[in-house]
């Protein structure tokens, strides 16, 4: 992948001189308003990726505050004692009206779920890091359709505005799943639910168009010399999830549209009072929302593959099985939606979906074993990205393994819709995707902004996040097996101690995340200038400067080695003292 001048064609020499004096993509071009206008109208994938990144982080903050409010209510729930006293003073916004306070809690958990799913985790890796990295990793100047990319960003922006408008209007209490007939009958005299669902509908187009863009980019814009199996695994997973984005998202579009029509015009599709079928809604909803779980986790898996490989200085173990496992997960993801409905569908459907669900575990297990084997005989750096990668391995494995008793029918009848499920999907979605995302922001932060962050505060934040996360969510497994249903504003006394521990954990988690935020701001202002390749990476983004120049590379790059050939290729811009290579194989033999 190194850029070799002798290989560049005569055509490129013209570019050579032209590109040398161009600044980084962050260099302001013109005054303040001109710069703002430049960002608003940019078709540069890097700027769009950065705008996505900060929008997503802002939404993550909003969703996180809602999560803290949820935990605050559960620390000391509002309820009436036998003496008629109302307890739970911290969340008691509506005086002695317990039902109104419950309703407030319901709005907060819906807010948390809807924001985190549709506005944070689904777009998180593809739209922000994916947008920034995918073209550079392929050696391209931009995505295949740069203007469409900007259009996707504006769709995301306006879709989020719908959702925020709904929140400002008072929020919705449907749960992020919008199950009918509750969602078609609650707040019947208000527009909030319609606006929120409309927001989800609009956001879907952003996801579809980004996916389409990535698929075409991967097919058409790989640098000369880069075959399918020379791509970094992040690109493979972005490609696999882009397929799901394009194929599954239209289904949620149709479903939300039907929901809006049912609410506004009373057509009877889902509400039995109008002759509809509420189970049909669940099928429609999960036909999208199960594959979407893999839109969320697949790119996270790709990030972890790259982080582990670079920081252990080891070729990823079983590259091809990793690539095919990604595609395998994509394929299976479309036929397992029924496992969200073991308690509402018939026996035959439940049996078939249970069997299919276990299929997902196989490619996932392969990936975990491959990451594990990659560490063997490596040179493992202990820094923030690697700490996050190891946290991911720990947490995601718990998330995956706790899926077993949920996939098995007999045990699922107990665990379904309990706190066990809540803990399980937080271990996968937050312990998996978000942990990978935060680790990856640290890994590529020097590349994106040209500044180094404080490694000490990065590791401190990671340790706090890891401890806080486990304290918050491991207790929820125990509550679930003990019989605590999810989405409860109050609970019977038996669960009090576990809820208290869980809430204290959420505070530790929040402190860890705030430390990261502070560290990032500090690095932008005071951080040391980042070298082009601080970690000794071999994929193409480490060949260009930090931050990259406007057109990514000074001249069109050519792939001359794989992204993980750490044993044989000196990484670009690195000192052989700092990143030494192992002894060459005798006789120049090629390693397998």
């Amino acid at each position: 992948m190194t850029t070799i001048d002798s290989q560049t064609q005569g055509l490129e020499h013209e570019h050579h001189d032209h590109h040398h004096d161009e600044g980084s993509y962050l260099t302001p071009r013109g005054g303040f308003w001109a710069t703002i206008w430049d960002w608003m109208t940019t078709v540069d994938h890097k700027k769009i990726g950065v705008m996505y990144l900060f929008a997503i982080l802002f939404m993550f903050f909003l969703g996180g505050v809602a999560a803290l409010m949820v935990r605050l209510e559960l620390l000391d729930p509002v309820r009436q004692t036998a003496e008629g006293v109302v307890t739970g003073q911290m969340f008691n916004w509506y005086g002695d009206n317990v039902a109104a306070n419950n309703n407030l809690y319901n709005r907060f958990f819906t807010l948390h779920g809807a924001i985190m799913t549709f506005m944070v985790i689904v777009p998180s890796v593809p739209a922000s890091l994916g947008n920034f990295l995918l073209p550079i990793m392929l050696g391209a100047k931009d995505v295949a359709f740069p203007k469409l990319n900007l259009f996707s960003w504006y769709i995301y922006f306006f879709g989020s505005i719908f959702a925020v408008a709904s929140i400002i209007g008072g929020g919705v209490d449907t749960g992020w799943t919008f199950y009918t007939p509750y969602s078609t009958t609650t707040d019947a005299d208000h527009w909030r639910v319609v606006i929120m669902v409309l927001g989800v509908f609009v956001l879907g187009f952003s996801s579809i168009l980004t996916g389409l863009n990535f698929i075409v980019t991967v097919h058409k814009l790989r640098a000369p010399g880069m075959g399918w199996f020379d791509m970094p695994l992040l690109v493979w997973t972005l490609y696999a999830s882009a397929i799901i984005q394009v194929l599954a998202t239209p289904v949620i579009g149709v479903t939300t549209l039907l929901l809006i029509l049912e609410r506004t015009m009373g057509i009877g599709v889902f509400d039995p009072a109008l002759g509809g079928d509420p189970v049909l809604y669940q099928h429609f909803f999960w036909f999208y929302s199960h594959p979407v779980v893999y839109i969320m986790i697949l790119p996270g898996m790709g990030l972890i593959s790259d982080i582990i490989s670079v920081h252990a200085r080891k070729k990823i173990f079983g590259y091809k099985s990793m690539a095919f496992a990604s595609l395998g997960i994509t394929a299976v993801s479309f036929i397992v939606w029924g496992h969200h409905m073991f308690t509402s569908e018939g026996e035959l459907a439940a049996t078939v979906f249970s069997a299919l669900t276990f299929l997902v575990a196989i490619p996932t297990a392969i990936k975990v074993f491959n990451w594990t084997a990659t560490l063997w005989k490596g040179s493992i750096a202990v820094n923030t990205p690697m700490c996050y990668a190891l946290s991911f391995l720990f947490l995601f494995t718990i998330g995956g393994l706790t899926g077993m008793p949920l996939g098995a029918l007999a045990t699922d009848l107990h665990l379904h819709d309990s706190y066990f499920v809540v803990a399980h999907f937080h271990y996968v979605m937050m312990g998996g995707t978000i942990i990978a995302f935060i680790g990856a922001i640290h890994h590529w932060w020097p590349k994106m902004f040209g500044k180094m962050y404080s490694e000490f505060w990065g590791i401190t934040g990671c340790v706090l996040v890891f401890i806080g996360f486990n304290v918050t969510f491991f207790t929820q497994f125990l509550m679930g097996t003990r019989g605590m249903p999810r989405r409860y504003a109050t609970y019977v006394d038996e669960y009090e101690i576990w809820h208290e521990i869980s809430t204290y954990g959420s505070w530790i988690l929040a402190i860890g995340l705030f430390i990261h935020a502070g560290n990032f701001f500090w690095s932008l202002v005071f951080g040391r200038q980042a070298p082009p390749n601080p970690w000794g990476g071999l994929s193409m983004e480490w060949e260009t400067e930090s931050p990259p120049v406007l057109h990514n590379f000074h001249h069109d790059p050519v792939a001359t080695h794989g992204p993980y050939d750490f044993d044989d290729v000196q990484p670009p811009h690195t000192d052989p003292e700092e990143f030494p290579l192992p002894e060459p194989l005798p006789g120049g033999a090629k390693p397998h």
Partner: protein, 385 residues
């Protein structure tokens, strides 16, 4: 052999808090523990490997990584096939346990369960409904209905919902199923027999003793979702049959106000309407009758018998200002006797209610100051603990 079994037992207690109370739930607990031990083995093995790698291969300045193979067909096939075999075992054990839970035994006792926002109503084969309630947590105000079921006898619930989707979950049975409007779903179980400590609770209503289990709604259904619980009381077969025949109150033997006070909890009115003047999802019943009320979709009017009747049968016709139009219709859910009893009860809570000549002559006026909880008598079950 003893030590692992001991640890297994400790962990079971820790995970589940209480034992499983039927054969099918004991099976699924066994399966859970089986999956747990397999997963724990894999998880600990993986993490031991990470620690080993971190110790052995931590980066040292100037020392490169060691060369090693980056792929191994044998290894990769092994870790594909072994998990697959385990997954097949998990699936089949889960499937068998599921069949045991969902297939109905012959001769099962058929009970009708109706869910609504936010409560449960059980109808027994003779048409009786449960009219008794108790607290789950002694210190809290909420009362939950008590449903009696026979010990060691197959029971099938035919479940349906009046409004939105609910889910019927008895954690001690490790089993739940969703409850839908406009269709029936089924839930079946065979409760373990009573034990010595259960028999010790013997009282007049349950001479052979009883055992209580909590049931929750597990599908989100709105404001009081978290207060949508009930108590499943396991009694001997004889006690069950006697309780169903005589234990339910015969409403027509009571005065309309007394009957209305019972219906107030049984029909779920209490979930949204207070009787002590405090605010809730719906307007309070204290001092409602005879007072003027503002409506969000109709001109103001006096709360009278016809308005109350209309509000029960067609709740959306006149919606009290400041409250959501959320109440489900009780058309077909209450008969005329029950309707009159509820109206009588609401009247009794108002200081503008007309008094009866009988009361004045006999000198025993219906007390409007009486606390509603006190009027909620619990016939035949004086077993408050």
């Amino acid at each position: 052999m003893i030590a692992p079994l001991f640890i297994d037992g400790l962990l079971r207690d820790w995970f589940f808090g209480d034992r499983a109370y039927s054969d099918t739930s004991a099976y699924s607990d066994d399966l859970y523990m089986f999956i747990f031990w397999v997963c724990a083995f894999v998880f600990i093995g993986l993490n031991a490997f990470y620690v080993l790698c971190l110790v052995k291969f931590r980066r040292k300045p100037g020392v490169p990584q060691q060369r090693s193979s980056s792929h191994s067909t044998t290894l990769e096939i092994t870790w594909t096939v072994l998990p697959t075999i385990l997954l097949v075992v998990f699936f089949f054990r889960g499937f068998w346990g599921y069949l045991d839970k969902v297939v109905v035994e012959a001769q099962a006792e058929q009970l009708d369960l109706e869910a609504y926002k936010w409560g449960w109503e059980m109808t027994y084969p003779n048409g009786a409904v449960s009219l008794v309630s108790d607290r789950i947590d002694p210190g809290q105000l909420n009362e939950y209905p008590i449903f009696v079921v026979p010990e060691d006898w197959p029971v099938q619930l035919r479940m349906t919902s009046r409004d939105v989707i609910h889910s019927f979950w008895i954690p001690d049975l490790r089993q739940k199923f969703d409850v839908f409007p406009n269709r029936y779903t089924s839930y079946q179980f065979r409760m373990d027999p009573l034990e010595e400590e259960d028999r010790a609770r013997a009282n007049d209503a349950f001479p052979s003793g009883y055992r209580d289990h909590t049931l929750f709604c597990a599908e989100y259904c709105g404001d009081s979702h978290s207060e949508m619980a009930a108590i499943i009381r396991v009694a001997s077969r004889e006690d069950y049959a006697n309780w169903v025949v005589t234990g339910g109150v015969e409403l027509d033997k009571l005065t309309p106000v007394e009957a209305g006070a019972i219906l107030y909890t049984v029909k779920g009115c209490a979930q949204c309407h207070s009787v002590d003047g405090s605010d809730n999802t719906g307007p309070t019943w204290r001092n409602a009758f005879g007072y003027e009320r503002q409506f969000s979709n109709a001109p103001a009017g006096i709360v009278d018998d016809n308005y109350i009747r209309e509000s029960i049968l067609v709740p959306g016709a006149k919606v009290a200002e400041g409250y959501p139009n959320q109440m489900p219709s009780y058309q077909g859910k209450v008969n005329d006797f029950e309707l009159n009893a509820l109206i009588a009860y609401i009247r009794s809570l108002s200081d503008r209610a007309p008094t009866s000549l009988i009361d004045e002559v006999q000198g025993e006026p219906e007390s409007t100051e009486e606390e509603p909880q006190a009027s909620l008598n619990r016939p035949d079950t004086d077993d408050n603990t």
